[in-house]
Every structure is written in structure tokens, then in C-alpha cells.
Symmetry: C2
């Protein structure tokens, strides 16, 4: 990692040859930072709302405000996709929306497989937010014989053993793991064998995957513990205990 001084990190074609095709004037297509990607999804939702309200143009100030970020950040985020705004005016809602959808790969069909249809998984299967936003769940799996064969929202639950073939057959691009912790790694391996390269993991374990597989983790108890930290911090910061605090030990 010893880069000599002066090595331009922003140098042309430094990452894996991006080779931006000769498209028209629009496509500087710089690397697009990770942090930016997750915000693009937020902007996209807000744009959808604006469009429903009949709004045709937004300024960076407005869009940023509605998305909960600062306007300079928004402009920089959008600048990674090229120049899609009009100086002195703002951004065209519809075309920006399309541009973002394209960038996020929503113009390709994404088909999702969900493994683990217990408590949490069952809820995820029926979560309207998915189908509504272009992520139809196309396959469900579980090990429990009592669940295998049943239908949830019109989709039959299959046995986890079928994961590899079914995922391959349906070109599943995204796998969601909502199993108990101990089962997660095994399930993950099956998904990988089925060709799935993106995994959203709800199980509280660290998944081991090949380099070309992307994993994102949603850990509810971590979220709660971070909030608990802030609660505790406030107490100490505020000096004293809050009403009714008797303290006591909590078990793991």
C-alpha cells in the first residue's frame, strides 16, 4: 500500500477499467462512492413522491431537504452520474428519476429469494414495500416440514435443499436470509451455489462468502444497542438518573 507521493487516486482509469463507452455527452461516470449509493435510493423515493404530486422540477435545496441531507452533498452525489441538472433552474423530476433507476439497476429485473419463513421471514415475505418497489419475492424457502409446501401470498414455500437449483433456474439476483443464526451460514452457501451474488442478511452472524459476493447485514439488536448507548450517554451527560431508575443487572 505504499503509494508514492503524488499518486493521483482520482487518476483516469485507475479502478478496474471502467471503460465508459462513448455514449453521448452524458456519462462522466466516475466511481460512485459507496456512501453515495445508499443515498441515491433515498433521493429516488422522494422523487417518486414529488412526481405523484405533479412536481416537474426540483432544486437541489428542495430535494436535499426532503431527503434529509445537505444540498451540497446532494449535488455532489448527483454529479457522479453526470450533469443532469439545469443551472439556474434545478433538476427535471422525471428524467432524474429514470437516471437513478438505471444507476441502481432497477431497469434490470431483480428477482429475490427469501430463506427462513419463520417469525421475521414471514413478515418480510408479505412486506408490500418490496413488490411495490421493484423487488418481487420470487421464491421462499424453509427447513420446517410444517411450513414447506404452504403458500404465502401465492408463493409456495420450498425446502432449503432446493435452493441451488431454484435460484439458478429463476436467475435470482438477491437472496435474503432470515433464519436463526446457526442456520445462516449453511443457507448462505446454498445461495452462493445457486449463483446468487448479493445477500441481505438478517441473522446475527458473520457470513463467510467468496470475494465476488456482496453481503449487507441488518442487525436489529445492534441498532437497539446503539440507541441504548445514546440513552445511557444522555443520562451521564445530563448529570443524573432519569425518573424511576433503580438500575439493576441485565442478563445477556
Amino acid at each position: 500500500m505504499s503509494l508514492p507521493p503524488g499518486t493521483p487516486a482520482t487518476g483516469p482509469g485507475d479502478a478496474s477499467a471502467v471503460a465508459a463507452p462513448p455514449a453521448d455527452g452524458e456519462r462522466p461516470s466516475r466511481p460512485v462512492p459507496e456512501a453515495t449509493v445508499s443515498r441515491l435510493a433515498v433521493y429516488l423515493r422522494v422523487l417518486g413522491e414529488l412526481r405523484e404530486q405533479g412536481v416537474e422540477t426540483v432544486s437541489s435545496e428542495e430535494l436535499a431537504g426532503a431527503s434529509g441531507v445537505n444540498s451540497a452533498k446532494l449535488r455532489k452525489d448527483l454529479s457522479y452520474l453526470g450533469s443532469y441538472g439545469v443551472r439556474g433552474v434545478g433538476y427535471d423530476v422525471s428524467s432524474l428519476q429514470e437516471r437513478l433507476q438505471a444507476e441502481l439497476g432497477l431497469d434490470h429485473r431483480q428477482s429475490v429469494a427469501l430463506v427462513g419463513v419463520g417469525n421475521l421471514g414471514h413478515a418480510l415475505a408479505g412486506y408490500a414495500g418490496f413488490a411495490g418497489r421493484g423487488f418481487p419475492v420470487s421464491a421462499l424457502f424453509d427447513v420446517d416440514p410444517a411450513l414447506v409446501g404452504t403458500e404465502i401470498d401465492g408463493i409456495v414455500v420450498r425446502h432449503v435443499g432446493e435452493i441451488p437449483e431454484v435460484c439458478a433456474a429463476h436467475d435470482v439476483t438477491i437472496g435474503m436470509i432470515a433464519t436463526p443464526g446457526p442456520a445462516a451460514q449453511g443457507v448462505c452457501d446454498l445461495l452462493v451455489r445457486g449463483g446468487v451474488q448479493s445477500i441481505l442478511n438478517f441473522a446475527p452472524v458473520l457470513l463467510q462468502v467468496p470475494d465476488d459476493v456482496e453481503v449487507r447485514k441488518v442487525d436489529l439488536s445492534v441498532e437497539l444497542q446503539v440507541l441504548a448507548f445514546h440513552v445511557a450517554r444522555r443520562h451521564t451527560a445530563a448529570g443524573v438518573a432519569l425518573p424511576g431508575e433503580t438500575n439493576g443487572s441485565v442478563v445477556s
Copy 2:
């Protein structure tokens, strides 16, 4: 495992010269970066597993590996809490575990309220991961008359109108919002009125709250879109289409 006498506040005017209180050798207590906090929760879980296995000591290398981070980062993270390791040996599992629990506020009782017992909320209410990790859900709310009055895991669902009083009465420290988007802000206001200062929001909207309230957001469709981005990126990076893809729009 009681806290040492006079658990000192983290320094009144902390940002500026903290003037480390006279505590004993243990308690440099520097600011603790946000990024570090969420990792502490992960270390804590791993420590729990190690302890169950009877392990009494871990090196930074081992604990880091099991937590999915690099060892230097782990040591730096722990150093914010003071010196809890032994050079040439490692960390004592039990005492580090206790130290982390204290830091994360798990030695205070955290009581959680969940609003929205629909699809997702119902699953969250029964999620074993919560109660098991020191976050018992102590109150449930919904607007749906069909749900109000029913019981879930022994807890009665109340009407959202009761949020302020019930939260205040039960000293709820953390509120979880699992309602449809349009209802979220209203519910949030009620929680705030009930004195709740930490909120975990599952609704796809930006919540407006007073400065002293901490909000964390879990947005499933954003997670999926980020994964979709990586899927798309891989295609373009890999040069061409993946099996079964005919370019342009894909159908099943």
C-alpha cells in the same frame, strides 16, 4: 458487577479539554466515535459466544477475526473505553463483556415500545432476539380496532392514542415505529410527547424530531437497492450479460 462508586459522568464539558477526572488508572474515556459504537455491539455478541464455549481469554486478533474487522481497529475501538487488555496475553472475556455492557447502557433497564403491529410489526413483537438480548418489548400500539385489545406474546395491544401516557408511565426509553409511511410522523410525535428519546424507524419516511431525540432508520428497500446497484455494477464490469440475460429488459 455493580458500577464502581461514583461512576463519573463522561466529563461535563467534554468536547473541549475533558480534564480526565481523578478516577483510577482506568477511565481515559475519550469521546467514543459513532462508528465504534455499532461495532461494540458486535464484539459483545461474539464475547457472549466465546463465554458460552468456556473461553476465558481472547487476543485482539481472534476477537477481531470473529467479528469481521481488522485487529488494529478492534484495539483502537476498545482503547476508547480504557485499558482492559493485558499485554502479551489478550483480553479477559468476562470482564470485557461486562465493560461493554456498561458502555452500551445495558446495565440500565431499557424498555421498548413498538408501534404498528401489522405485518412487520407483528414479527418484531415476537422476535426472540430482542427479549433475549436485554430489550424486552413492554408495550404495543396500533390504530386498527381489530388489533387493539388483542394479545401478542402476552402483551396487550393498545391504541396509539395512549402512547404518551403509557410510555411515560413505563419509562420507555426506546420506541420502534413499524407503521405504514404516512402514519409514522404522527406516531413519532406521540412517542416524543411520551418522553421517548431514541427511536428506531422502519417506515420509509424522514422523521422530524427535536434535537435531543436520536433516530436510527432501517430501510429495507434502500438495502435492496444498494444490492441491486452492485448486481448491475457487476454486469457492466464483467463486460457482458449474465446467463439468461438477453440484454435490455429481462423477463422470466
